[in-house]
């Protein structure tokens, strides 16, 4: 494929280029990592408008750098409006979309964009059992969702484990006074709410209420395999529960998000065919999510283990943005745990893009795909290297020449 592109490029006359920031670009790198093919040494990527026009070998360019990778895809970007991103008056609000609660003006978007993340999955916060729909969007561009949207209803978000129940109270001595009393307070009840939602959907229970009918319509799309179900499942028991739910209701596409302890259940993962989004690697291997008291354990080689077992997985920064904690840094840490470079690269680009069904537009450097590119000062993911340039939809949003 890439050889074909190379020969194609060689035969093309290289057009005169404008340098006004969003015209056409020719980017020359010591190594181009297309992800979809082998690395191209002394490679060139040509951008025409918002799309990649050619990928090949040799020649100079307007922009020079040590390496080019596709823009990263983060399935847990966690730039949300906190509490306000999820409707907590009911424990299952499948009909509501996080799109209604996004803050595209947040500086966080610029920060993740400049760290190389060009596509992100935005999800409601995990205070509900079924928290609503997530959307895939570009991390930069106009502050209107319509302009940034890659995929509207991309996933349905659910959460099992302790987070959706924490903070809820059981009514004691008094009659319930607010909705938090209704909500689950244990893992068992969280799982019950989950299953009830699907059972009610299968049986059409309560569908005369228009809101409930709207919820069930979404769940039916999940059951039909039109919509992936992304479940926050941290501890071993959460991972198991999620997989049992998948198998019980024959849900075709399930993504286990924040699956700290998924590595403990390799057989189950393989049997069920779930995909996994790993949380960020903590510097000392221990993980405390700061919300509940449980500590879950993520070894540094978790990604390497999943890779060896052939479980599809993606790396994520889960909202971390400090030094050494961005998504690119996760790819570095995963390598420190033994993951090969190519797999680490795919785990922040094409693999997550596939999980949410946007691989036709993003995730690799291929002709016709969105011109989302990351320019590096050195070997990607090494702490000594830096993201020096970022193109988003062909527009230079971080200029390597200004550095």
């Amino acid at each position: 494929m890439w050889i074909l592109a190379a020969s194609l490029l060689a035969s093309l006359p290289i057009p005169r280029l404008t340098l006004d920031g969003d015209g056409d670009w020719t980017i020359h790198a010591k190594v181009v990592y297309p992800v979809s093919g082998k690395p191209i040494e002394d490679g060139v990527v040509r951008v025409d408008g918002t799309k990649i026009a050619a990928v090949g070998k040799g020649g100079g360019g307007d922009l020079e750098c040590a390496a080019v990778t596709p823009g990263f895809v983060d399935l847990a970007v966690q730039i949300d409006t906190g509490n306000a991103s999820v409707e907590q008056t009911s424990e299952s609000v499948a009909r509501l979309s996080v799109a209604g609660g996004l803050d595209l003006f947040s500086d966080e978007w610029r920060r993740v964009l400049e760290s190389g993340v060009t596509t992100a999955l935005a999800l409601p916060a995990d205070f509900d059992v079924i928290g609503g729909l997530g959307v895939v969007l570009k991390t930069g561009g106009p502050t209107l969702l319509a302009a940034r949207l890659v995929k509207g209803d991309a996933v349905l978000r659910g959460a099992i484990g302790s987070q959706p129940s924490s903070g809820n109270n059981a009514p004691r001595f008094v009659e319930p006074q607010n909705f938090y009393y209704r909500r689950p307070t244990t893992r068992m009840a969280v799982e019950w709410v989950f299953r009830k939602a699907f059972y009610d959907t299968l049986q059409g229970e309560g569908a005369d209420d228009p809101e409930e009918a709207a919820n069930q319509a979404v769940l039916r799309r999940v059951l039909a395999g039109e919509l992936p179900l992304s479940i926050q499942a941290k501890a071993t028991q959460d991972v198991r529960t999620a997989i049992y739910l998948k198998e019980e209701f024959k849900i075709p596409y399930v993504i286990l998000d924040y699956a700290v302890e998924a590595w403990r259940e390799p057989e189950l993962l393989k049997r069920s065919g779930v995909a996994v989004v790993l949380p960020p690697f903590p510097p000392d291997g221990r993980h405390d999510d700061g919300f509940v008291n449980d500590s879950y354990f993520l070894p540094l080689d978790a990604a390497a283990q999943l890779h060896e077992q052939g479980v599809p997985f993606a790396l994520s920064a889960h909202g971390q943005r400090g030094a050494g904690a961005s998504l690119a840094d996760q790819a570095g840490l995963a390598q420190r745990g033994g993951l090969p470079f190519e797999a680490a690269l795919a785990a922040v680009t094409l693999d997550p893009a596939r999980m949410v069904g946007v691989q036709a537009r993003v995730g690799s450097i291929e002709v016709g795909k969105d011109a989302d590119l990351v320019l590096w000062s050195g070997t990607p993911f090494e702490p000594t290297a830096h993201v020096i340039g970022v193109l988003l939809d062909g527009k230079l949003v971080l200029d390597p020449r200004s550095r």
């Binding site: 509490n83 306000a84 209604g100 996004l102 803050d103 502050t143 903070g167």
Partner: protein
């Protein structure tokens, strides 16, 4: 009303600048119509009428509390007394977003939708807040339900001179701000929950206070939920929401962060609502501005804080350039009435066009609070609320010389006879 009775030292200025014109003859043209009562004629060095018009050496003639005409020397009715003012005469200022006379009474957050609530029933007409406002040249205020309810109820427009409610249902107050959602999700201490809502009298005479909870009591808790709930409300066929959706009732939507403003503007556009956004410090952001322009909403900004950033001070300029009407909120009694003019002058200093800033204090403010039919302009037929200034009102050195409301001098208060 007679100036002869004026005796306080502070009013000497007034006496020197406004003088009787003696020697009034008979009214020309006989007596075809009954002679109007309470006619006042004031001649000022400059009269700012409406739409940026200025009449030099103009004469304002007021009858029965309304503006009868604005003209020149030849319009002077010699049968009536004439005041002369060596300064500028303008319409009275209108302060949006106040809690004048109703501090602590405008926010009932036991439930999030209170569409039948009226701010008009909540204020004390004799509050000193009104007298203070009047002295600063503010002739009308819009009293606005608090921002912590998704639907706060009806705002009203009140005259500062007499506490007269100009319009009890001037706008419908909505809030898509974090304050609404925050109130739904965080609450400590004493609770008014479902037990109060169901209306049952309890044996112990009050709601159970042993039920402590860390989190809130009501929906919505999220932006998506808020929009869904509003969609449901605006789908009703009658009531305030239907009136708003038909364009008969303007709304005021509380929204501060840019994403909230964008959301509010898009919502208003989708439901064809008119009215204004209250808040929006960064409304000058291009994407927000485009959405605001499309929605045809105005923006009520301010009052500006000491550390207000440049971009938000400049937002008035950008809004004006885009043709989006602006008005200034005062947040009285928390802020002094003089801050209304201060906010305007700060916007002016940040590059806003003079005309837009002046309109923001008067006619655009009247429009955004739903009172443009009777207030905000000095044109025939409008209520005669006006201010005599010692100089340019957008110069902070200029003083209020006198304030007239409904055609009568309201400040300085006419002394007791």
């Amino acid at each position: 009303m007679s100036l002869a009775t004026v005796s306080t030292g502070a009013l000497l200025v007034l006496i020197s600048t406004v003088a009787w014109r003696e020697g009034a003859g008979d009214a020309p043209g006989g007596a075809a119509a009954p002679a109007p009562k309470n006619v006042i004629q004031i001649q000022a060095k400059e009269i700012w009428t409406a739409g940026g018009q200025r009449v030099a050496n103009g004469v304002l003639i007021v009858a029965d509390g309304h503006v009868r005409s604005i003209g020149g020397e030849r319009d002077i009715d010699p049968a009536q007394p004439l005041w002369k003012h060596d300064g500028i005469l303008t319409a009275g200022l209108i302060a949006c977003g106040t809690a004048s006379g109703a501090r602590g009474e405008l926010q009932d957050d036991t439930r999030s939708v209170m569409e039948a609530a009226h701010a008009a029933y909540a204020f004390d007409a004799h509050s000193q807040d009104f007298a203070r406002a009047l002295a600063a040249g503010i002739t009308a205020v819009s009293i606005q339900p608090g921002p912590e309810n998704l639907v706060g109820g009806f705002a009203c427009v009140v005259k500062t001179a007499n506490g007269r409610v100009v319009s009890p249902e001037s706008t419908l107050a909505l809030s898509l701000s974090a304050a609404t959602l925050g109130r739904s999700t965080t609450q400590g201490g004493f609770q008014f929950g479902a037990s109060e809502e169901d209306g049952l009298a309890r044996a112990d005479g009050g709601p159970e206070s042993s039920a402590r909870t860390q989190r809130g009591t009501r929906e919505p808790t999220s932006y998506a939920g808020a929009l869904a709930l509003l969609d449901k409300l605006f789908a009703r066929n009658e009531g305030p929401f239907a009136r708003a959706a038909r364009g008969e009732l303007p709304v005021t939507i509380e929204a501060w962060d840019r994403h909230e403003v964008l959301r509010a503007a898009q919502f208003a556009h989708a439901h064809k609502l008119n009215g204004a956004i209250r808040g929006a410090p960064l409304a000058g952001d291009p994407d927000v501005l485009a959405a605001l322009k499309e929605s045809k909403l105005g923006v009520i900004v301010g009052p500006y804080a000491a550390d207000q950033t440049r971009p938000s001070l400049e937002s008035v300029k950008r809004l004006a350039e885009a043709g989006v009407p602006v008005a200034f909120a005062l947040d009285a009694p928390g802020h002094a009435p003089e801050e209304l003019r201060l906010s305007a002058v700060r916007a002016l200093a940040a590059g806003a066009p003079r005309e837009a800033v002046w309109k923001a204090l008067t006619e655009d403010a009247a429009r955004l609070v739903g009172a443009s039919e009777s207030l905000g302009r000095l044109v025939p037929g409008q209520e005669a609320d006006f201010v005599l200034w010692s100089g340019d009102p957008l110069d902070l050195q200029s003083r209020v010389v006198a304030v007239f409301v409904d055609g009568s001098r309201a400040w300085p208060a006419p002394s007791a006879r």
